[in-house]
Amino acid sequence: MIAENFVYSAPTSLSEAISLLHEYGDDAKILAGGHSLIPMMKLRFAAPTHLIDLKDIPGLSYVREEDGYLKIGAMTREVEMEDAAVVREKYHIFGDATKLIADPQVRNFGTIGGNLAHGDAANDHPAVMIALGAEVEIASQDGKRIVPIDDFFYGFYTTAVQHGEVLTEIRLPAANGRYGTAYHKAERKAGDYATAGVAVMVQLDEQGQCLRAGIGLTNVNPLPMRASRSEAVLVGSQLTAEVIEQAAQMASEDCNPSADLRGDEDYKRHLVKVITKRMLHQAISRAKK
């Protein structure tokens, strides 16, 4: 399958990329890893007139702790996230998630920024970033702005990244104290989109009381979803089995899955409940280590 033709450019600076976006207008698209966009172009679901490839712009690929954040450059490949020492040591959720994203070849090219900017509730990083309380840095001609992850997803394939803007960094509050995270999705086969997926973050005090909690849900809502009611019941509690059960029940009630080839609504709600419970136990046990 061959895409419609387009004009390709590979600028070597961010400012050049932004001015090309302005010059080319609405039908220009940014190319990161291309592993969501190119398949859509091959199927002619997308037909941008211009592709602006970010690969030659230095300084967009990094994973580092700095100023109380874990900062992730938008062009960081999934595999680089998987292999980063700081991620393996402290942010286990990315190990859980990246292993389940597509397959190794796709992860060699797909980027974290692209996974978010694609704006698909079936992608895994949106729920992960919701659970972790991330912020997204977006660059334009006017400088940079920061958007909290809860304000980032607008709708199917649309995000806060407006025309003439480039997503440049994702940052999340650094792991602190007794901090544990976990992600799992049910999938029909290796590399499939989630039937349902749940991302969890908890932070505990010395007595085991929950100080912070984040729960993000994959592919069970038109937008990537925060399970706010579940989080509220966890924070300030001792995270007993009853509280975890209640939080999982609320997540399954609050999501809005649609029936498709992966399962019907009831099945997906059931998965959300089971996976939320398991991931909470997993994150809590990681936090206590």
Partner: protein, 165 residues
Amino acid sequence: MEITLTVNGTEHTVQVEPRTLLVHVIRETLSMTGTHIGCDTSSCGACTILVNGRSAKSCTLLAVQANGAEIITVEGLATTEGLHPIQEGFHLNHALHCGFCTPGVMLRAVELLEKNPNPTEEEIRWGISGNLCRCTGYNNIVKAIQWASAKMQNKELPSTEPEFV
């Protein structure tokens, strides 16, 4: 557009449309048909090659994205010394039947063994989860990769006797 690719050590400068997929340049412009097109949707892995050492699905990369890259295809695995250990492993373990998926699986395995010279069976199975084989049922592919792993580390070679279950 003019792009330059180094494929199996030889530099090629070719003219492509921006929309030309890398796999088509390899197969049609450079006439190296060892890289296969299976699903054409980045699911099956038959088109897997190495781009700057990383395994990639060449049906989902634009040729222009690989401008300046070092590419290895199945044609680049063997040397004048003989077969690559992964090819030897596939040969001795009967790890192919129709052979359609084989070039892609072997190149994926080359990167896997480069990053993790001594993988467990589970790591191998996760490692080749982006490559579909419809003939062998994967068991012999896993054995072939284990064999190549031993060979590349000068370890004792596992048996290549077929298992009858």
